[in-house]
């Protein structure tokens, strides 16, 4: 499939409009959404970081620090389509859909820290521009929680990243380097075994939209998906992050423990650990001590991963 507007799944309950996306963009970058007018969605989801945060843990409006890495935002509409569970967004699946996800940070005490959504809506309703912008987007200048969430979700869904060197090679606009090509083979065969969870050219999201325990720890400190589902078999499972734009989304893993991509590759090569819920695609290599990639193979894999960077998406040439 081609990743782009031609394959964009339009949500039936919140179709995108120009006025809706524009309103969502203004809201996304407006600190009016935080309790003390100090930060916007964009404070922790910066375009230069592929709408992620280069800090290991983001800081909230009142100075509180979270416990997980801010996730990058792009190609989100496809998660609606390919993840049919109630656990679609966030590291532990704590948001059922993008509209609900939008409400989370607004009222989370360690994020934007509003006591409730009503106070935010009141501020927007009194604003000199917002009532008019909501009327343009939704036909009425009465602002509601649903309209607020829909507008921001529209903007977030409009963030499409599909212009990496990988995409250009798929479109026959460029040739892969030899190292990239070798890396692609390592990626998509049992040798590197990345493709089971991160997808391949046929599913170019570089995530399976699912949750796995990738063997980071013998005793995971973060219960992951289990926090939401309550199921023991979900202990320590985290959402598979996309591999697109990796150069802009450091640090890596749900807790941002790895600063560089080489550390991540070395972790999968030799550092995975056993635990009751570890994914079979990780545990199947325990008997031979990991992937056993050579230094050259690691560099090839790295070069392939770097070909997934879309610098135009983050505002660079």
């Amino acid at each position: 499939m081609v990743l782009g507007w031609s394959s964009f799944p339009i949500p039936s309950d919140n179709p995108l409009t120009i006025a809706g996306v524009e309103l969502g963009k203004k809201l996304f970058f407006d600190p009016i959404l935080s309790v003390n007018n100090s930060q916007s969605c964009g404070s922790c989801h910066q375009q230069i970081s592929s709408f992620s945060d280069n800090r290991r843990y983001s800081m909230g409006a009142l100075g509180d620090v979270g416990v997980r890495q801010a996730m990058p935002l792009f190609n989100l509409a496809w998660a609606d389509k390919y993840n049919l569970t109630n656990h679609k967004y966030f590291w532990d699946g704590g948001a059922t859909d993008l509209e609900r996800q939008v409400i989370g940070p607004i009222i989370n005490p360690i994020e934007m820290a509003n006591p409730d959504v009503f106070s935010v809506i009141e501020r927007l309703q009194k604003h000199s521009e917002y009532p008019n912008l909501f009327r343009r987007a939704f036909g009425s200048d009465s602002i509601t929680t649903v309209k607020l969430a829909k507008a921001i979700a529209q903007f977030e869904r409009s963030l499409i990243s599909a212009n990496s060197n990988f995409d250009k090679a798929e479109r026959r606009e460029r040739l892969r380097t030899e190292s990239e090509r070798n890396g692609f083979i390592i990626y998509s065969t049992e040798k590197g075994d990345c493709f089971h969870c991160h997808g391949n050219a046929g599913s170019p999201f570089f995530t399976d939209f699912k949750f796995h325990n990738n063997g980071l720890e013998a005793m995971p400190k973060d219960s992951g998906l289990m926090r939401v589902t309550g199921r023991a078999e979900d202990f320590g499972l985290m959402k598979t992050p996309t591999l697109r734009n990796l150069s802009f989304t450091a640090p890596y893993m749900h807790d941002g423990r790895f600063a560089t991509l080489m550390e991540v590759i070395e972790f999968y090569n030799s550092g995975t650990k056993n635990s009751p819920t570890v994914d079979p695609m990780i545990s199947k290599n325990f008997h031979k001590g990991g992937l056993n990639l050579t230094p050259v193979e690691k560099i090839d894999l790295l070069n392939f991963l770097l070909s997934l960077n879309d610098s135009s998406f983050v505002g660079l040439k």
Partner: protein, 264 residues
Amino acid sequence: MALNIFFTLRKGLLFGSLLCVFGLIVSACKDPEITTPDSPVSERWDTITNYSGLIIPETGVLNINVNYEFGGEPIVFNTKTYINAAKDSFNVREIKHYFSNVTLVNHLGKTIHLNNYHLMDASNQNTSQIAIANVPPGNYKSVSVLLGVDSIRNHSGLQEGALDPAWSMFWTWNTGYIFFRINGLTTWGEAYTFDIGGDKHAPYNLMDLNTFKVKSKNPTLNLALDINEMYQNPEVYSFKSDGLSIQKILKQAIHMLMMLRPMS
């Protein structure tokens, strides 16, 4: 018995004959109309005197009042100290909960969903006294209520009205609504809060209306919700030894809400 049947037949024949006479004048005599199973049966509920359950004779309004109690006495917020079976003493500051999916079952076993979603705040009578309009006529034998939000609404998108997340009965970074919230302060100064939610914990209460002999276009169901049951049914819950462990309370809450009972 035999006489009764005969009498009915005679009445039918007489009625038929009268129609024929009238019909002859206009055109030809037709057979009396036969009611097929598909056509709606228009029963004259208001003519029935010997019945059980709830009869709503024509499209009406179902009023429901929820009364909040502790051990059978009306709850007094903040100022009154309550003692549970484990001898914990505490006050109650707030009780808020969803009250949705009111469903009636008629004498034929047919289910009528009233599709309501209400958020009740025990300290505000305006929210704990609700009126559901456009209830179809019928003889109802039972009523059920979900003290929560059904799994479909609990997991799909954002909604307006009672289900607006702005009411703060919605979990941040989690799936769905807080179905039932109670909080207060123990006499030893510890604040307690129980937020109950999750599909498998949605208390579903089925109440028998057979002994409830009321015929009205605007009937009122008075229900009681006894908080004490949360702390003693079926197990004794103790603030001190069970702590604020939500697991036990989750199981107990369903029993508390089973105490909802129709009162005429």
